[in-house]
Symmetry: C2
Subunit: 379 residues, 2 copies
């Protein structure tokens, strides 16, 4: 039934431009797609006939005739996305433009292993679909983020330190067996970066730092996610300059993670007799102006900033977006900025923006939507 719908090929390109909000009218589609205006009109006609696009009033004039605004039809389809954490999963449904229809969080132990976890996620998808999506609207793609590296070639999880029982498990194949649809599996920090990228129009090269219990980072190059061999973006196991020496779980001394992650800060505070369980607790302490906490966070920011220094000189991003639960502590980003400004080449920092992440706590789910939309609308 939904096998021959024009979501791929040239129509797919047009659909994607509307879904991502880059184009709102036939004229904009023509400019951005490179197709002739007449061809765009023909294809848009088809997309409207197929019930994927709809016309909705008119936009604002740019000095001439007002454009007839196009938007995605609600019946165009939905995407099911999840983001697996160590002890819980956030999951939900998005429309093709990436707007959430429903998002919820459930407890879920990733240590239960891949089969149990993924089946539980899929059951949750089915329940949400039954409750929130009318019968005629097709599910068009399924995606999930995982807290570990994913081999982009095989879509398997590889050497995940926090996912016992998942090593080399074919996550995508398992999901594809249940849903005969495009399936996405990606590292959670990468998903967050993909979600963040949409909030920085005009910026093609981004680094997105996730400062939470651990320290993650995703890289966007030329507007699309850089995967490398599956571990790209890792900054947590970089050696930092230090007087003392701490051994990291990875077996090497003085990793950034051992000094500046939420877990490391919590350990120091607990040692000092302050009760801390989650990174959010540290933020609370900082906002309450507890001197030790503030000093610790500032120190962590400086360390992260020193690592970023190397990467900024090398990669020359337009934007460094700082997210994660720890990023709510203001001194973090301030001291990251200070370290980068001080030490980087002027040419590299000339127009560099270092700012809080814009996509909010559902960034990873939104990122999964963005990447899935690509997969759904490509030949």
């Amino acid at each position: 039934m939904n096998q021959r719908l024009p979501v791929q090929g040239p129509q797919g390109d047009l659909l994607r431009l509307v879904a991502t909000g880059k184009a709102e009218s036939r004229a904009e589609l023509a400019r951005l797609s490179g197709l002739a205006a007449s061809s765009v009109s023909l294809r848009v006609e088809e997309l409207i006939d197929a019930g994927l696009l709809a016309e909705e009033g008119s936009g604002t004039s740019r000095g001439g005739r007002r454009p007839r605004r196009l938007r995605l039809s609600p019946e165009a389809g939905v995407l099911a996305v999840a983001d697996l954490g160590a002890h819980h999963v956030r999951l939900g449904l998005l429309d093709l433009s990436g707007s959430p229809l429903v998002i919820e969080e459930r407890p879920c132990e990733i240590s239960d292993g891949p089969r149990a976890t993924l089946d539980r996620v899929a059951d949750a998808f089915d329940a949400l679909l039954a409750e929130h999506v009318p019968a005629g609207t097709p599910l068009r793609g399924v995606g999930t983020g995982v807290p570990g590296p994913v081999d982009p070639a095989t879509l398997r999880v590889v050497t995940p330190s926090r996912m016992p029982g998942w090593n080399d498990f074919p996550v995508a194949d398992h999901l594809a067996a249940r849903y005969d649809l495009p399936v996405l599996v990606e590292n959670d920090a990468n998903l967050m970066a993909a979600g963040e990228a949409r909030h920085w129009p005009g910026s093609e090269n981004l680094m997105v730092v996730k400062a939470g219990t651990g320290i993650g980072c995703g890289v966007v190059v030329n507007g699309s996610l850089h995967r490398g061999r599956g571990a790209a973006g890792d900054i947590s196991h970089v050696r930092v300059r230090s007087d003392s020496s701490i051994l990291c779980a990875c077996g090497h001394p003085d990793c950034l993670e051992a000094y500046a992650s939420g877990a490391a800060l919590a350990a120091v505070l607990t040692e000092a007799g302050v009760e801390v369980t989650r990174p959010a607790d540290i933020v609370t302490l900082v906002n309450d102006a507890v001197p030790e906490a503030t000093s610790l966070v500032r120190n962590a920011g400086r360390r992260i900033g020193e690592v970023l220094t190397v990467l900024v000189n090398f990669f020359n991003p337009d934007v460094i977006a700082v997210g994660g639960s720890l990023s709510a502590a203001e001194p973090l980003i301030t001291s990251i900025r200070a370290a980068v400004w001080e030490r980087c080449l002027p040419l590299a920092t000339r127009d560099l923006e270092i700012a809080p992440a814009r996509a909010g706590r559902d960034a990873a789910l939104l990122g999964a939507g963005t990447l899935l939309l690509e997969a759904v609308t490509r030949p």
Copy 2:
């Protein structure tokens, strides 16, 4: 006369695939270009009629009919390329496939300023063209490398530390005024990276380190050069871990360049009473098994490797190619390897190749040819 030749548009794509050696037959062109085989045949016919392509015998069978091999016609055109150094310039002519017709090196002081230098280069181009290129063969592009950062937006040189008088000079405009053709201006390490990339087919992500008097680096992402804001690839002003403290010319303490560049090593050796003027002299000492020189180079390699560690985790390249005059000293690459293998994530080093550069001393000129070919054959 050569204004309407089909080097752009769809024919340009085909021409480029042949010129870069990616395709040698109509069938390969069809596979790589995405066009239908019938369309490819038509366009190739046109290119042959226009004298840009030629048929040359047949290739080897892959189990069926033998392909009719296509190659670039010698009359298709030439590219004029140069690579400016501090005290000399290498320049020459390439055919469109990037093969050198003639390459020579001349003394040339970059401190004479942009006008004098560029005019001298252009005069040299004209002389080479008159001597080595028959009348019917058109010049299709001009490109030059410079030993400093280039703003990719304006093609001006920005804040060049070793190019007095060049700051903000519109190099591309100056050349374009003399040649009404596509003009390329690029940092020399970036050109080297572009040239090297062609020698690593199958590898999409490369870091190319140039270890000479200074330390340069170029980055190739998804097969094309990453420019960032013009300074991308810089690794020379990264802070290294050190007991002592050396102030770098950039004003910061403990830059990699101050410890591991050819200039830094030469300074130490001279201090110790060993006569050294160029990085090549250091290589000679190492090959003669002079212990101090070997130990110094090994130390430099380890320091470079420690910096690369961070970048390998972050960027996950397929290949790190090490070139530059100092790279001829074997211990350099060996100790870079050791540092990277020891400290990087296994996933990042799993299939990583760290190897000597393959493109030789004309890498930058060949890279200029590759990038110019792009400019010439694009709409």
